[in-house]
């Protein structure tokens, strides 16, 4: 069958980019491994010595762990929103990039919740959440939303992979060890591309992409409500849920662009990840930056103009150049304007500038989350009177930094491992049999 031949060639061609690890790759692998070991040591220190080794204290009860939690759940939107929406709208150019997007989703949704566990003082009592769980608590909502979301995104990724697993199972050209072929056989779930199977799979994918979008919205809304439900300045805001959702899609799209740039540059996937993909995603990034900037402006204008004394205290800390000012202006103004210019102005827009725009957006979003969490906690309604500086102001300790970089390293390591076991470009999606006209098309 001609379809099989073309598809198998394509599959082999894609995997040829991920042959034996190069020297550079090996060095990177070791480097990330060392960071992970450092993070494990930090984790060990925190478990043995308790939370006293972190920068968290009675006023700032949560630090960068919760920032990382929001950040990782945020970038998981790459797969959920981009892939889900583009799938539902039948946008053809999405096909080469959906696998990367969905892998970002699954990996970051696995890493994110680890950070919330790091905030928990008694990990030995986690069983109390199912045993004594209370539905009134936003944390219970979060646990339910994230477990559903993670299962949903794994299912979404898997369903999109079934046809590729079938190709891997039937492949004869590549030397796939038997144990791996067995796994592919199980994962392919007897898929042989029969019309009935194809129809069912297509329907399942459409249903999943429709489910994953509201799930993603719920996850970040619930996350925002952890803050929004408290009566504290800077948090108690009705705009928080949509604000968090937009920030998440924004950072998710940016991470997707960065990942595509890395794959294009170092694994030479120029044929698949073309300039048009960067441009289209750049336009999405531009629109999201605009919405995000609008939300930010609306939020802080309202609070500042209203001049409620508690709210003003937090806002002035953010505006004050001697306090959080530089960070705030970088994240809330620079993190919106620079990406808009770089990705929006046609004559400076290219693959590299769009990627730089994404890097700025990602950095800006991480800092913006820090500015949401920490300044509010440093500003309780009854002002702090304490002589211990660590109780007045939060500062990040080495344990927290190590565990943060550990998360980033694990993210890259997972990617480096996964790409050798599944095709990073969805082969079955780009080589498709056209049902009506009975000829094979390569959709790129």
């Amino acid at each position: 069958m001609e379809y099989q031949k073309i598809a198998q060639n394509k599959l082999e061609e894609i995997f040829s980019h991920f042959g034996k690890p190069s020297g550079k790759e090996k060095i990177l692998f070791v480097l990330f491994g060392l960071v992970c070991i450092g993070a494990l040591y930090a984790l060990y220190t925190q478990i043995v010595e308790g939370h006293i080794v972190t920068g968290m204290r009675d006023n700032v009860v949560w630090g960068i762990y919760i920032v990382n939690f929001i950040f990782f759940i945020g970038i998981s939107y790459a797969g959920a929103m981009i892939s889900g929406i583009l799938h539902l709208l039948h946008v053809e150019w999405r096909k080469p990039i959906i696998r990367i997007a969905e892998m970002i989703t699954v990996i970051s949704t696995m890493i994110g919740p680890v950070y919330i566990l790091l905030c928990v003082g008694r990990l030995d009592r986690l069983q109390n959440i199912p045993l004594h769980g209370r539905i009134q608590s936003p944390i219970t909502w979060d646990v339910m939303a994230i477990t559903t979301y993670l299962s949903g995104s794994i299912l979404f990724l898997y369903l999109a992979l079934v046809r590729d697993y079938a190709l891997m199972r039937d492949n004869e050209g590549m030397k796939i060890p038997n144990w791996r072929r067995n796994i592919y056989r199980k994962l392919a779930a007897s898929y042989y591309g029969l019309p009935e199977q194809k129809k069912l799979l297509d329907r399942a994918l459409t249903i999943m992409s429709a489910i994953i979008i509201p799930l993603a919205v719920i996850v970040h809304s619930v996350l925002a409500w952890i803050f929004g439900m408290t009566i504290r300045p800077g948090w108690h805001s009705t705009i928080f849920a949509p604000y968090f959702v937009i920030a998440a899609v924004y950072s998710g799209t940016a991470v997707l662009i960065i990942a595509m740039w890395i794959f294009r540059k170092y694994y030479h996937l120029e044929e698949y990840l073309q300039e048009k993909h960067f441009k289209y995603l750049g336009i999405i990034l531009l629109v999201l930056a605009g919405i995000y900037g609008y939300f930010t402006f609306s939020e802080y204008l309202t609070v500042w103009y209203g001049s409620e004394s508690w709210e003003l205290e937090v806002v002035y800390k953010l505006f004050d150049m001697n306090s959080y000012g530089p960070w705030f202006y970088f994240a809330a103004v620079g993190g919106v304007l620079f990406p808009m210019i770089l990705a929006g102005v046609p004559f400076i827009r290219n693959i590299n500038t769009i990627t730089i725009a994404s890097v700025i957006a990602v950095a800006g979003m991480w800092i913006k989350r820090y500015l949401i969490v920490v300044p509010t906690l440093e500003t309780p309604l009854l002002p702090i009177q304490d002589t211990r500086p660590e109780y007045v102001n939060y500062s990040i300790t080495w344990v927290e930094w190590f565990l943060t970089f550990g998360g980033v390293a694990v993210f890259f390591l997972f990617f480096m491992i996964f790409i050798r076991f599944m095709p990073i470009i969805p082969v079955a999606d780009i080589v498709e049999v056209n049902d009506h006209e009975d000829f094979i098309t390569e959709k790129l």
């Binding site: 308790g50 009860v61 003082g121 008694r122 608590s137 408290t230 002589t387």
Partner: protein
């Protein structure tokens, strides 16, 4: 009517009889000391006078802490309140010391804090002792994912630190900064724990002022009330309509009405159980509070003063 009351009498009588038998049984269980074998393992306990005593673990059957259901329900028909007279406070800090030593809390780890307050730049500053407010709509209880902190019938908000997972959400949610986390292993005696006594504290869990229901049960006033040299704290029961500082007693409703009591940041909708009498006609000038103050405590208040100056709150 008559029939009803007779039935009532019968039911009550039967209940009383069953109760007596049960109580007798329990009493005999407790008094059968011979059956209880000494294990040699000693446990430190607080006796009814507040002294620390050692008891053999094997002998502890009859004096166990109230059951968890009882602790979560609270004392029926009561609603504990506190009235704090700001005109009497001179920041002697005896309440803080008494509370800390009674609960074996390390220095700085204060469940009861005395704040230096100033409402505006034109008004005078005053001392503001702040325990947990035991709100009637407590933000902390709403957000707890495991019900480790709970609201009782008698108005108390307590923490079960054997259930607490240490997520600190209650600390972020409490608008009054009433909650303190045990970042380190606390040096508490190995007593039988009850949320009503809050001793011992445990690492990785949250602690706070518990309004000392264990003191009330043995007919005493909390240590902060008794330690205060100026009788600032009035402790009592809103339903009984009486509050006392150990020397004077007042009708709660009259006291709060006559002296225009207020609840701190009531506008948040938390409905606190702690009422403040305004700092008018004060016994001492605020400066008196700075006398004989350890250097470190003074610095803490300087931090606060600087804040008032900067943000005018």
């Amino acid at each position: 009517m008559k029939k009803n009351s007779r039935r009532d009498f019968l039911v009550k009588g039967a209940t009383a009889a069953v109760g007596t038998v049960l109580a007798g049984g329990l009493l005999s269980m407790c008094t059968k000391k011979d059956d209880l074998e000494a294990t040699g393992e000693k446990v430190k306990l607080l006796d009814t006078n507040g002294n620390l005593v050692e008891v053999d673990k094997g002998h502890m059957l009859c004096c166990s802490a109230p059951g968890s259901k009882e602790v979560r329900k609270g004392m029926p028909g009561r609603h504990f309140v506190m009235v704090i007279d700001l005109s009497r406070c001179r920041n002697a800090r005896r309440c803080v010391d008494a509370c800390n030593s009674m609960h074996y809390l390390p220095p700085h780890h204060e469940w009861l804090k005395v704040f230096l307050m100033q409402d505006s730049e034109d008004t005078s500053s005053y001392w503001f002792p702040k325990p947990c407010f035991h709100c009637d709509t407590p933000a902390c209880v709403n957000v707890c994912p495991v019900g480790a902190t709970f609201k009782r019938e008698d108005g108390l908000v307590l923490i079960d630190n054997e259930r607490c997972i240490g997520c600190k959400f209650c600390m972020a949610a409490c608008p009054y900064s009433s909650r303190v986390f045990n970042w380190d292993e606390p040096k508490s005696p190995n007593a039988v724990y009850s949320p009503e006594s809050s001793v011992p504290q445990r690492v990785g869990t949250v602690g706070k002022c518990d309004f000392c229901p264990d003191f009330f049960k043995r007919g005493e006033l909390p240590d902060c009330v008794m330690a205060c040299p100026n009788g600032v704290f009035f402790y009592g029961d809103k339903n009984e309509d009486v509050v006392t500082n150990g020397i004077e007693s007042f009708r709660f409703s009259e006291l709060v009405k006559n002296k225009s009591a207020f609840r701190y940041m009531e506008e948040l909708g938390t409905r606190p159980s702690v009422y403040y009498l305004p700092p008018v006609d004060r016994l001492y000038p605020v400066e008196k509070g700075f006398e004989d103050m350890p250097e470190e405590t003074r610095k803490a208040y300087e931090v606060r003063r600087a804040h008032i100056k900067k943000f005018n709150v």
